[in-house]
């Protein structure tokens, strides 16, 4: 075996140019595959995290009626008991209570339909990234009476700036239309500009006064320490507090879980294409090698080299090519990922504006877990062996008498 390895290794370097070409092709193919995968995973992961942090959270509780029809009157049953329970639960990282009404926002010249969130400053601050998304003004601090925070796309559309007065109009609990003046104290921006154009935030106490009740809780959003606990914890909530609808992130936002699965599939397809290309490259190289070495293989078989050994030799030669190529590709791939994951890749100018409509960030931080590299290594090796089998079998079929006659 040792000599077989030695012979195979030296055979790899007989046609240096050809071996280097296939090694480079393997390497760059993997590099591309690794980098594309990391880029896409990073994008998906960021999108997922930002969706969770910006709007979805891990678990949301609503009154079932509220889910069907967003009316402020459909308050969560036993909201106080629920918040007491989650307040003291060790699985819970934080939670935020919200009152939610639909209404209209008006400036002197324009109106726009909005979703009005009555939030608690400190709860929201730790549960969502809302405060971090402020790009102008402050977090309900500079204005004491009826401050409001609106999204950048809404501010742009309606030409509103910090300190402006706006009128919010909505129905109170009795079904009467009420209006109140608010003053803009902050402008936020998330990667989802559609939401930014619609969601408007005021202090819960201000909203409670206007709708005429201070124990309306339409939504409780919960963030857990570990996302893997969502099922267990939502079941626990369901069994303890009946009458409410407890939903996990993947119920609230099926497109998020779809996106996770779909992107996994897309990456799989990309990898398969790369591996296919690799397989055909190898197949071609090895067939050429065998064709050129027909006579030599004939001599080897004539003097008593067994078929198993000839087979192994060709398998080894293929594996050497692939292993060198993949080590090379993986190293530059991993280096590229490591480098770009720290700095991020700024895609603005490459259509990132359009992508932000769908909730993608314009700076991508590529990421890959180590399992990916392991899986890739295994897949590549399997590909190598599979693509060596046909040429190796071809070598075995050689009749030594014919092979040694060949000039």
């Amino acid at each position: 075996m040792k000599t077989l390895i030695k012979i195979s290794w030296r055979n790899v370097w007989r046609n240096k140019a050809r071996s280097i070409v296939i090694i480079l092709a393997t390497g760059f193919g993997l590099w591309g595959g690794i980098f594309a995968t990391a880029l896409m995973s990073g994008m998906i992961q960021q999108q997922f995290d930002s969706s969770i942090r910006n709007q979805v959270s891990h678990i949301q509780i609503h009154n079932p009626e509220f889910v069907k029809e967003k009316q402020a009157e459909y308050s969560i049953h036993n909201a106080k008991q629920i918040t007491d329970f989650i307040e003291n639960n060790e699985k819970v990282f934080s939670y935020a209570e919200r009152t939610l009404v639909s209404g209209m926002l008006a400036t002197a010249s324009m109106t726009s339909g909005v979703e009005l969130y009555g939030i608690y400053k400190s709860q929201e601050e730790i549960t969502t990234s809302f405060k971090d998304n402020l790009i102008e003004g402050d977090y309900f601090e500079s204005i004491s009476r009826n401050p409001v925070i609106i999204g950048k796309s809404l501010a742009d559309k309606m030409n509103i700036s910090i300190g402006n007065r706006i009128i919010l109009t909505f129905q109170d609990l009795n079904g009467d239309i009420t209006s109140a003046a608010f003053r803009v104290c902050g402008i936020y921006q998330t990667s989802n500009s559609m939401n930014d154009g619609r969601n408007v935030f005021v202090k819960n106490t201000d909203l409670a006064a206007l709708i005429g009740s201070d124990d309306i809780v339409n939504e409780i959003a919960i963030l857990l320490h570990n996302i893997d606990n969502v099922n267990a914890f939502s079941e626990e909530l369901n069994s303890r507090f009946s009458g409410n609808e407890v939903r996990t992130w993947y119920h609230i936002s099926p497109d998020l879980s779809f996106m996770n699965e779909f992107s996994g599939m897309a990456l799989m397809i990309l990898l398969i294409i790369i591996l296919f290309a690799l397989a055909f490259g190898l197949l071609n190289t090895m067939l050429m090698t065998i064709f050129e070495r027909t006579r030599e293989l004939g001599v080897l078989m004539s003097v008593g080299m067994s078929k198993l050994r000839v087979f192994t030799m060709i398998l080894l030669e293929t594996s050497f090519l692939v292993v060198i190529g993949s080590v090379f590709g993986t190293i530059i791939g991993a280096l590229t990922v490591a480098l770009t994951s720290r700095r991020g890749i700024d895609l603005s100018g490459f259509g990132a504006e359009a992508m932000s409509e769908f909730g993608f960030d314009s700076v991508i931080y590529p990421t890959l877990d180590n399992m990916f590299y392991l899986n890739l290594a295994i897949l590549v090796l399997i590909t190598a062996i599979l693509s060596a089998v046909y040429p190796a079998r071809k070598a075995l079929k050689l009749n030594p008498a014919d092979a040694v006659r060949k000039e």
Binding site: T3, I7, R10, N11, V299, S302, G304, K307, R309, N399
Partner: protein, 229 residues
Amino acid sequence: MSVIKTEKIVKIYNSKHLPVKALKGVDIEIEKGEFTAIVGPSGSGKTTLLNIIGGLDKPTEGKVFIDNEEITQLTDSKLIDFRLKNIGFVFQSYNLIPVLTAKENVSFIMLLQKKSQKEMDQRAEELLNEVGLSDKFNVRPNKLSGGQQQRVAVARALASRPKFILADEPTANLDTESAFNLLDIMARLNKEENITLIFSTHDQRVIERARRVITLVDGEVSSDEHFDR
């Protein structure tokens, strides 16, 4: 008892257009220690005969016995093993593994026979000395002349201590001096070590070294002469 015995060997190559009858019933018998030349013009069937005797190819009809064992019955994989243990081969050219040195090429056969490293080293060096290549142990084939390569091939053929050595036109690509040199080595091995050698040639210069000359014409033995030399 003969080392090699063939019975009515017929070989028909089924080429696309018309079948070629390369051997038309060849009966030969070769004793241990003989030094035999198979001669005849190009296309007379020398290579075909040697391939069949060496178990590289199967006859269309007839039988081949090596030490009374009928090798025409053996399966392909058994034949490989049989060749490894019993027959040494020297081909016309490109005999050696290009990526191995002279010594590694000679050792290779013994390696396939699973000999110990020490035994391989010792015997490979001894054989290379015997064919006059004591200074070429670690040289690869492309750095050796044609004659030197053929001598390495002879050393390799001897390495497995075969029952006989088959050499198909071993001098065809050599200049006169190298050709005589190779034949001298073969003749000496035959005389001193009692090694059974069969070589084919259509080269008049080297025929006279053989002690037996079998002449093939159109796939048939036309003469079989013994010489005392």
